[in-house]
Point group: C2
């Protein structure tokens, strides 16, 4: 196990009706807030009215920024910053999924500068940031508990992380997820599983506890995702999946180990190339092919995955066991409606795969389990066609 530090102080408020308490929860931070959300779904399902009622009951003024879309764009961040220049917000409340939360985090950086894109391109640590609170409407990105944000601008989809992004309050109410369409359930489940895979597959030795916590979380998410595909209004299954999705990405499952993040890096190039490509769908295609490409770097880890997560009976032939595990994972993705090929996502031999691979890997490499230079990324893209 490697040395590590871990601190995740989000006040995580879970369960039925909890979003109706948002006014009380954010009141210690602010009397005027920026309320950020996506399209009209929270107006249709009543969440918006509940939030407004709770804010008003607690005498919290708010200004709205809406219309955030999937693969959130910097232009919306700039709109938020313009609002910030007019008013003094003590907190930004994101009511939405990862895109809305990530946009809110980006806006939160604009206390001393308008150019927050600079953090995404050049890094550095902000002196201050506005506190962010969230009411989650799509369990997937884990942004409700994470220090991460991903924003798209000028054809680049870039991530930036700072502990100042960690939300101070996050409300997760499984009732809110019951009307999500099946493709969003599938994409969310795939994304949270990927957040665990990116941490689980490591070359670090002696990682027993976190390994087994990763395995337990993956199995719980898969079992309950299968229930949701049959009954999307199953509260208990949503409770397990959404709690699992948060635990997948608050960082604890990465403690003491070198993490990978190759699949996320490769997928970001797919969505950057065509923003209609859902992050989860891209991951579902790439992950099994990444596994087949890299497993020989440390077969023990993939043997453990096959037997402990995918319940493959261990055989003396290690490769056979490993490949059975990867195949079974791919079958799981298919069972929840995910594609298996990039072709299904609109890519083919004429797509600029080499250009995408070079943009993704840059002069260096993606991932860690096996460092993926652009040639490796291209090989995985081609194997995924």
């Amino acid at each position: 196990m490697n040395n590590f530090s871990f601190q995740a102080g989000t006040n995580y408020v879970f369960g039925k009706d909890k979003h109706k308490k948002i006014g009380e929860l954010v009141k210690p931070y602010a009397s005027k807030i920026l309320l950020v959300y996506g399209g009209g779904s929270i107006k249709r399902n009543g969440i918006y009215d509940d939030v407004v009622a709770s804010l008003k009951a607690n005498n919290i003024e708010f200004v709205e920024l809406s219309g955030i879309q999937a693969n959130p764009r910097y232009e919306k961040v700039q709109e938020g910053i313009a609002l910030l220049r007019k008013e003094n917000f003590g907190l930004i409340l994101a009511v939405g999924g990862g895109s809305v939360i990530d946009t809110s985090k980006a806006i939160a950086l604009a206390t001393k500068t308008d150019d927050v894109w600079n953090f995404y391109t050049n890094g550095g640590e902000p002196e201050t940031a506005i506190p962010v609170a969230t009411i989650l409407t799509i369990p997937a990105a884990g942004s409700e508990v994470s220090p991460d944000s991903v924003i798209t601008y000028q054809g680049r989809k870039l991530g930036y992380s700072t502990e100042k992004f960690r939300p101070v309050v996050s409300v997760v109410n499984p009732d809110i997820f019951m009307t999500l369409p099946k493709n969003q359930i599938a994409n969310g489940v795939t994304d949270m599983m990927s957040h665990i895979f990116e941490r689980y597959f490591t070359q670090t030795e002696h990682t027993d506890l976190i390994d087994s916590l990763c395995e337990a979380t993956l199995k719980t998410i898969m079992r309950n995702a299968t229930l949701l595909m049959k009954a999307p209004k199953n509260y208990d299954a949503w409770a397990e999946v959404s709690l699992g999705g948060s635990f997948a990405h608050n960082g604890f499952l990465g403690c003491g180990r070198k993490q990978d993040w190759g699949c996320h890096g490769m997928e970001h190039e797919l969505s950057a190339q065509d923003e209609k490509v859902a992050h989860g769908a891209g991951l579902a295609v790439l992950t099994p092919n990444w596994m087949r490409y890299v497993y020989k770097e440390n077969p023990r880890m993939f043997f453990q995955f096959a037997t402990n997560v995918m319940d493959i009976k261990p055989e003396r032939d290690m490769d056979k066991t490993i490949n059975a595990g990867i195949d079974k994972l791919q079958q799981f993705f298919v069972s929840i409606g995910q594609p298996t090929t990039l072709r299904e996502l609109g890519f083919n031999e004429n797509s600029p795969l080499e250009e995408m691979a070079k943009k993704g890997a840059g002069d260096g490499f993606l991932g860690n389990f096996k460092p993926l230079y652009w040639q490796d990324v291209l090989a995985i893209y081609k194997a995924s066609l």
Copy 2:
């Protein structure tokens, strides 16, 4: 799953040499601190010198309070409060195990009152408390990440919890644990396992994720405890056990479920009766007998324990499977040197078991899985003789 809120913001700093950074870690909180520790072991193993060097290097003044013993007493808390009245400490640094940390937490309550014992007897919420930081020297109590403290006074061993007790910084360095005697390893391991049992055995339905995280943590602790019994200087095994001990008690494993805490309540009466009784040893005796006494209230949960944690092959005869699981747990305790009977701890038919049972259960009951009235507690004490 029940509704819940969870917030655990301790800056958890893990790994080799990390205690040498304590000055930097506490500097944001204070320029003068109270340094609390137990006997001379930290002077013998060099930890004291490392801590003092780091405090001095960061210009942090400190006053010392030492001599804290197991089953910590209120008299030492009062000594600490007296020091507090003379100096203005911005933080209390506990270098020790649960007793030292729990004493420090109790002292931390004395910002507005000298009578902190009142919180232990009558509850209530303190307006303020001094921040506590820890360097752990015995992984067991989980107090390095918990909102809990247990203090003994006038023949009563009472717990009090407030989020203000949650340490702001905790350093866990497995190298520090290598010289612990085997009985302390065994008692620590038993205590951390009990912290999970008290949460795991529940009547709450649909608790998949947390169930499986409990099971994973229990198995990791047991497997690595067995390694430590053979090789107490195995860094990796200590890393797993100590991280598991913290995760066992930061509260996450209790989220969304009704918890029990009957065994802890029953054990506190043993140590209150005879302070030579180690908390872990008492728990090792009581836990299997508690299990046998209560499992029929919800056999499914104990069947799950037997098969998922103790690796018992499930048989059609549910009771047989369950009892095999409980027996195997007891064998594990024996394998790490724990007793199986209260007699080995100095109790017998002439001990005031009825009085102890009545003191433990009061006018109500202990636990939740099956409410334990004093007659039940007495029956478990007698079955444990």
